[in-house]
Symmetry: C2
Subunit: 428 residues, 2 copies
């Protein structure tokens, strides 16, 4: 088996160097060498010694190369990546990719053509970097009905929230983002990460391989962390919670939940312990119970580890296609309605700024009780200029009812501005 590497950026250079550094260890495991037939890259990478490598500046040479059995799509992006992968497949080459957007948005089309051509498309590196979570879900837990997945799957967002959550910190989102950009933990244009789009791509894939449903990136609810304030983090801490950006998907009888957004996570929950750029995915299943997978979600080494794990799987099985791409036989995928966010049920954190007058708490309580929302915890704090902050954790409530209550709360004469809300994570 020979591989062709397309793209020699952070991931591609990591893969190239991993093969030269660990080639002998890999051979000890699989009894064969993994060799690079060709590298396609626009320019050389300073960390890679390409002196004895067949290099082309046209990545499409790689998918045409008859020596290449497995194409590694590591160029990222959308159009070229899709074209490259489709051409590789029609040339009967296996594909390994780290491209979450490609799989989440075009996976159904790609997998269908791959099945017809008898080749594999593997994407362990697309989700949570070095953590073998695709393998755990598609293979390790294959005897289970999987009920839900909740994961910290965007390292940039988790880094920013961790920094904002340090007890000594009172930093605003924008300030921490700037630091993260300086440290290389956030892109110059951080939208994909901090607005939840990257996490949405990953969760879309996780949901499909867990439940056997088609990829539904078109229907996912996506909310990022740019609205989280230092104030909310402080109140959450006081109430025993940490704020994390989660991807949550749940398999219900006739529908699936599919949503990424910030969440209050109880401090003693494992996901609240996941700090900095680390990722963790918790999987709830009927036989194994809750299992969790933790590690570095990005970076050259961890992503290369995942890419090469896929390559080794293909080599070990001589390219025989033993596992359906989404972990379920294509004919067994079951289309389910994706729940609208207002249909979701869960607890909520509310922050209301009110003028500190007698009767205000009674008014708030009355509105909540009219919507059958009960209060699990409450803090009232004096704020500037005679105002007060009322912070509430509700019990489980339908999001639609919560939204109606929030509108009424915002309409109270005593209320200043909007009512802020953050969902509370509910799973075990």
């Amino acid at each position: 088996m020979q591989i062709g590497i397309c793209g020699l950026g952070t991931v591609g250079s990591g893969v190239f160097n991993l093969i030269s550094e660990n080639g002998q260890e890999i051979k000890r495991r699989i009894g064969r060498e993994v060799t690079i037939a060709q590298v396609g890259c626009r320019r050389d990478h300073p960390d890679c010694d390409l002196s004895v490598t067949n290099v082309t500046r046209d990545i499409f040479d790689v998918v045409k190369n008859p020596d290449v059995d497995v194409v590694l799509e590591l160029i990222g992006g959308a159009d070229d990546a899709l074209k490259l992968v489709m051409e590789a497949i029609s040339n009967k080459k296996h594909v390994v990719t780290a491209n979450k957007a490609l799989i989440a948005e075009h996976g159904d089309e790609i997998f269908s053509v791959a099945s017809k051509n008898g080749v594999q498309v593997r994407f362990e590196a697309a989700i949570a970097g070095g953590i073998p979570i695709v393998k755990a879900v598609r293979e390790g837990l294959s005897a289970n009905k999987i009920d839900w997945i909740a994961g910290i799957i965007n390292g940039t967002s988790n880094y920013i929230l961790t920094e904002m959550s340090k007890p000594s910190s009172d930093l605003a989102f924008v300030d921490v983002l700037k630091d993260a950009q300086k440290l290389g933990y956030a892109e110059a244009d951080p939208t994909f990460d901090v607005e939840g789009i990257d996490a949405a791509h990953k969760l879309t894939i996780l949901s499909s391989i867990a439940f056997g449903v088609p990829l539904r990136f078109d229907a996912i609810y996506t909310e990022g962390i740019s609205g989280i304030t230092a104030e909310d983090i402080g109140y959450a801490r006081e109430l025993g919670y940490t704020i994390r950006h989660l991807g949550i998907t749940r398999n219900l009888k006739d529908s699936v939940e599919l949503r990424v957004h910030p969440c209050l996570v109880a401090n003693d929950h494992m996901l609240a312990q996941v700090n900095g750029v680390m990722n963790a995915v918790m999987v709830g299943s009927d036989a194994a119970g809750a299992t969790m997978y933790y590690g570095a979600g990005a970076g050259s080494g961890p992503t290369a580890s995942a890419v090469m794990g896929d390559v080794i799987d293909i080599v070990r099985t001589d390219g025989v296609h033993s596992i359906a791409n989404l972990g379920f036989m294509p004919e067994s995928l079951e289309a389910k309605r994706v729940m609208e966010i207002h249909e979701v049920v869960g607890g909520a954190y509310l922050r209301i700024v009110v003028s500190d007058k007698p009767g205000v708490m009674a008014n708030i309580s009355t509105i909540l009780s009219h919507h059958e929302i009960s209060i699990e915890a409450l803090i009232q704090k004096d704020a500037r200029g005679g105002d007060a902050h009322v912070v509430i954790i509700t019990n489980t409530v339908l999001e639609k009812s919560l939204n109606e209550a929030m509108q009424e709360l915002a309409g109270l004469e005593e209320t200043r501005g909007d009512v802020a809300s953050i969902r509370v994570a509910e799973f075990s």
Copy 2:
């Protein structure tokens, strides 16, 4: 592919019922049904409806049955299990087992015969129950050099330490053990669990599949939790540590570390967050970095999940042997010396009871400094009858030097009784 189940206890009954409950979900994944050709058990299990099942009271019928392709060895124990597995292999049947003692003590012999017969022997269920850790190490991280593994791999010990560590608790080991026995978390004879033998079996296997070294249960250092006192747990907490029973194995140039014993783990480390009967295994590797795998380490459902995951892997690959049993080609296994425990280097917690006289701290410090042991943290507390407790966390020290220092400390005129010591976990 048809399976034969040998043993219908906690694990066997779990597997039997998992197949009937999740058979359709499994078929959605693999496109085929997993059917039970025969069950061998001394007596029926009250939770299993065996009315349409071919049942034999002689488990050896199962390995002779020509309809059986995969034998599930779920009887546990030693002699019969070995005989059964060897006979299954010589009859060209694949074997799936949950028997950690069998693999740790007889794996080399079993795997050698299995290779000759072209069958697989799989043992995901032998380590950490429902957590697919064998798969993660042998497959997910297969492109890495693995440097170390540290795991909480005995649920009984972790349950007892967790209960002893509750802030309100001042319970002794023996009291918590009694409670654990009542709750079914500890066996009537708890020796295997609380003295570390069960963890030693599991770590032996983990070490081999991580580093590609032969199974060395004969050489593992094993220490249990029966010596841990409520006092030590309290002092550790004061110093920012939680006491956990860990299995630690490390791959060095010419040797491997292989040891199970109690450890102080810094409170902010993920392994310190693993409570009750839960298990977690952290793997340090060169490309992926540190990854961790968390979940239920025992019980009918989690263990059945792991057993059936192995069965499904065999079915998916049509029994083609793609992965070497220990994750490395048999001819590539590299025998390495197992380090003696006194050669190990690490930090230590020391507790010394002394008569509270002037000069005692000077004497203690002098002894430590003679052995080039520096002090990272120190507490002195008054105890009963004019005695004082001196509690020290040392910096990294060779265990041999520490032992010598401890002997000298015990020999001081002011010292009452032995000096207690617990290792401090050092890995990231």
